[in-house]
Amino acid sequence: MTSRDEVSAAVADAHRREWGFVLAATARVAGSLDVAEECVQDAYGAALDAWLRDGVPRSPGAWLTTTARRRALDVLRREQTLRRKLPLLVDTAPDTASADGGVLDRDRAADGADAIPDDRLRLVFTCCHPALSREAQVALTLRLVCGLTTDEIARAFLVPETTMAARVTRAKKKIAAARIPYRVPAEADLPERLDAVLTVVHLVFTTGHVAPTGADLVRPDLVSRAVDLGRVLRTLMPDEGEVTGLLALMLLTDARRDARSGPDGAVVLLEDQDRARWDQAEIAEGLDLVRTAARAAPGRFLVQAAIAAEHARAASYDRTDWTRILRLYDLLLGLWPSPVVALNRSVAVLMVDGPQAALDEVDALERGGRLDGYRYLAATKADLLRRLGRGPESAAAYREAISLTDNAAERRFLEGRLAEVIPR
């Protein structure tokens, strides 16, 4: 006899692990993301009683998919018109980038006898379609692929729930009305389309890694959702170097989570972190992924992962191979000419060529104007001026950085540094 607690835990676990799989497979049958969502919701609701009665099935995902798809077929029978009214465009041609090749007959699907195709790639690419705004892509991915509620997504991105609900509704309407297809893009479009998907996942990760506002530095819920998504993508596209690179980057960065803040929640820089507190399991997995992808063409996530790997391997900040890191940043800048990358590169310049060389580069970036209002530009400049003993200029830069920072932990750190450089 299975206890209620065990069953509840199994349902919660299946929600977390299988939501995207169940929804993606149901959407194919339902012909509508809205109908699919309702049916999947119902299936999870029905699971509690059914599993209490019959025990937790060996494959909860398959049980939930079969149940949700049956409900979808019922809905379709009841509402005959739904099919004609802008159905989700399921492309039945074999996918170029996924292992799933076949068309699944609707009635056979309802029997649940056949293997359920993994449609999560279709779902991810539909959620991250370039015709949707970046904000909508993020919201849809968290909602449909990860199964977060609108309220949870709204809280994560600090917008009112009504705003987030409207955003999700608008995006789903556009998918139906503009006929955004439910398919994995063709080979020729894949690099660009994949980049959008990876950008969305990375955005979820960075929003969690340094919360833009609020009391805590890290939002662990968002970080682990992003890592989960990264793992799913890697399972679905094991040969894409950038997919591997992104997962490695997230693991190697998140490995430092516990060491990044002190007991009082204050920020601890990489330079001062207790490396014994780095998560060795995440580092091992991340390093392994970087090795696996070594022969793939270098992309921006893979090169960033390689930089993170250098830090992870180093015994200390001073004994880090900064020359190699600088070379990797040069490579990264070539692939991705972003002023933020150039700013991060200045840290490697500092370690290889000293603070004056680094400051020259940061000054040039400031004159370029593309980083106006970016808090890390002011903070980097303040740090370099501090190292050069130019106290008053450093203080001015720290004040500017503080005025641009809404994260309480980062503010406290900058205020501490400001107090150090103010001449007494």
Partner: protein
Amino acid sequence: MSEYLILIYESEQAYAEGGEQVYGEVMAAHDRFSHQVPELGGKIVGGKALQPTSTATTVRGDVVTDGPFAETKEALGGYYLVEARDLDHALEIAKLCPARFGGVEVRPLMEFPDE
């Protein structure tokens, strides 16, 4: 197949400055486009070029005023009505649509249940 309207927004100034030669080149590009669409598996259902916004008249309620509905740097100068399989297909077509002094907007047409 679904219907999409491709709205061409371009700078009128650029055409005014470009003269006959530019006009001829653009016409030739539109002629090429009309052949490219069927090659891509789409269909041009209709399309027209508009007279410049200096010829436009706006009516709001009873009030008639000279000029376009909204003053913008790039103005609606023409359109195509096309049939495409889905948005990806429509965007593939739209990328080939000539609009050297601006860009195009792709809008799905409303579909009514009993048409």
